[in-house]
């Protein structure tokens, strides 16, 4: 479903966020992507829904080389990929309901179907009563869950969730992870970037660990620390020496 071949990504400012990443994610898989802040998790996600193109190497989604995708075909790719953005990216002048409805509208869904799906999705993420609120009237966690409702609204082939529990309390986090697992059960391939050690360790799914843009470990039933002691020690000493 998702294939990376020796992918490197260097941003315009010269920062190299990914180096020679080669991974294959099969249809229906559930994958955690972990790593320190700045390791390249969000960059990996952006390459999947083609917000960015690789500087080197190839990214295939559903058999299509994204670099060769014509601009006018990109919207159709994105309709098959639900994304929970790390910074939510809700439309500020639309209510929570309309934000979810918009993702369905772009696919050409009928008003009837929209009226049925949107409340159901908001209910799933626990925002049943918040449909009429604008993003700036929602808490961080509520915005994040609205973004999740939008991402799953049209049953995407792939769900990319960039720290979907970043702003949530442990209980709500677990509700969300359970929801993601359920979505995955119904056949959607899920890619979830996260820092939530307890979740990764408890769920025991495939874990890809990034360190400074390199894939340092890729385990089928992994845990959060699988990148090796060295990487963690480095991270720890870096954070200690950064303090005054």
């Amino acid at each position: 479903m998702i294939e990376f071949y020796e992918v490197s990504k260097t941003y315009l400012n010269g920062v190299t966020a990914l180096r020679d990443v080669t991974i294959t994610i099969a249809k229906g898989e559930f994958v955690f992507v972990v790593g320190l802040s700045g390791a390249g998790k969000s960059t990996l996600a952006r390459l999947v829904y083609r917000e960015e193109l690789p500087t080197k190497g190839y990214v295939f989604v559903n058999g299509v080389n994204l670099a060769r995708l014509k601009p006018r075909a990109v919207p159709y790719l994105r309709r098959n990929i639900g994304v929970v953005f790390q910074d939510f990216k809700l439309l500020p002048r639309k209510t929570a309901y309309e934000n979810v409805a918009f993702a369905l509208r772009v696919t050409g869904a009928s008003p009837r179907e929209i009226a049925r799906r949107v409340p159901a999705c908001l209910e799933l993420v626990g925002l049943g009563g918040k449909g009429d609120a604008y993003p700036d009237e929602l808490s961080g966690g509520e915005q994040q869950r609205t973004a999740l409702a939008r991402a799953i609204a049209n049953h995407p082939l792939v769900l990319v969730a960039d720290e979907p529990t970043g702003n949530l309390d442990p209980t709500t986090s677990w509700d969300i992870v359970r929801l993601l697992l359920e979505v995955n059960q119904r056949g959607t391939t899920v890619l979830m970037a996260t820092h939530a050690k307890h979740i990764v360790d408890a769920v025991r799914r495939r874990v890809i660990t990034l360190d400074k843009g390199l894939v340092v470990s890729d385990k089928l039933r992994g845990g959060y620390g699988d990148g090796g002691e060295r990487a963690w020690a480095q991270g720890l000493s870096a954070s200690l020496s950064a303090r005054p």
Binding site: P75, R78, V83, P92, R93
Partner: protein
């Protein structure tokens, strides 16, 4: 585009207009003000042109006829003159009519004419209207050579100076109106650009969740169209009222200045402003959108 997506698009546009509040008012007002200024320039320009036309048409060539012409000779001469290049009209003026006109022009001083009336010193003549000052010289020259014409009267200097004046007034007016159109387009499209700039992030997000360019473009296009039309409507009403008021003022005080009547000018001007507002609004918004759609 099916009926369903049309409804979606119009709905999006209407919500956009509603929620854009202040920005909508600002852009409509900007459109209205710049179109109104343009309308004032257009009205002044058209009236100056009209005045020049009226003055030019007052310029004529007078052919004084020889004493011994038979009525049939006069008819032949009229036909010959009418056939000359640049001639638009030929009228026969008898000596008696000429005297009567003179008497009227003199008004209270008409008593000066007493005593000359029995032996009218004026001669029969042909009054020749031309297409404009540029033709006067040529018409006078060729008409003067025709048999039966005793003398030619016209003011060469006046013709030349008038020609220069009206030409430069027209060119100047055209340049000014052209510049105003350009300025109006720039002001309006810049306003539209700013409203879209403020919403670049929104467009970016829409693209990321899978919207096609046209799905994003249509609502913006309708919004631009709406602001353009709303502003143009305001400008048209204001220009119409202002012109109505100005024309009435001129009629009641300095009525000798020829001005174009309010109708149908007001309707035509309104249509031009509406078309301009709509085009710039719609085009401006879709052009400004372009750079945000490349995601």
């Amino acid at each position: 585009m099916g009926a369903g997506s049309f409804r979606v698009i119009v709905g999006e546009a209407l919500t956009g207009i509603r929620r854009n509040g202040l920005m909508s008012v600002v852009s409509s007002t900007t459109v209205a003000v710049s179109l109104f200024v343009l309308a004032v320039f257009l009205l002044v320009g058209l009236n100056v042109d009209h005045m020049a036309r009226v003055i030019e048409s007052g310029l004529e060539v007078r052919l004084y006829l020889a004493e011994d012409l038979e009525p049939v000779d006069v008819e032949v001469l009229k036909i010959q003159v009418a056939a000359l290049d640049g001639v638009t009209d030929v009228t026969y003026v008898s000596a008696e009519e000429a005297l009567e006109t003179l008497r009227q022009q003199l008004g209270e001083d008409a008593e000066l004419l007493e005593g000359v009336e029995e032996m009218n010193p004026l001669s029969d003549s042909l009054r020749v209207s031309t297409k404009g000052p540029a033709w006067v010289d040529a018409v006078a020259a060729s008409a003067g050579r025709l048999p039966g014409v005793a003398d030619v009267g016209y003011t060469h200097d006046l013709a030349q100076r008038l020609l220069k004046l009206t030409t430069s007034v027209r060119v100047g007016g055209l340049v000014l109106v052209g510049l105003m159109v350009l300025a109006t387009i720039l002001v309006i499209s810049n306003t539209v650009r700013l409203t879209i700039l403020a919403r670049g992030e929104e467009v970016y997000i829409m693209k990321l969740v899978g919207a096609t360019n046209w799905l994003i473009r249509w609502p913006f296009l309708f919004e631009g169209l709406f602001f353009g039309l709303a502003g143009a409507l305001l400008a048209s009403l204001a220009a119409w009222q202002a012109y109505y008021w100005a024309v009435n003022g001129i009629y009641t005080t300095i009525s000798f200045i020829p001005v174009l009547p309010v109708y149908p000018l007001a309707w035509r001007l309104g249509l031009v402003l509406l078309a301009l507002g709509a085009t710039i609004g719609a085009l401006g918004s879709s052009i400004s959108l372009r750079r945000f759609l490349r995601v």
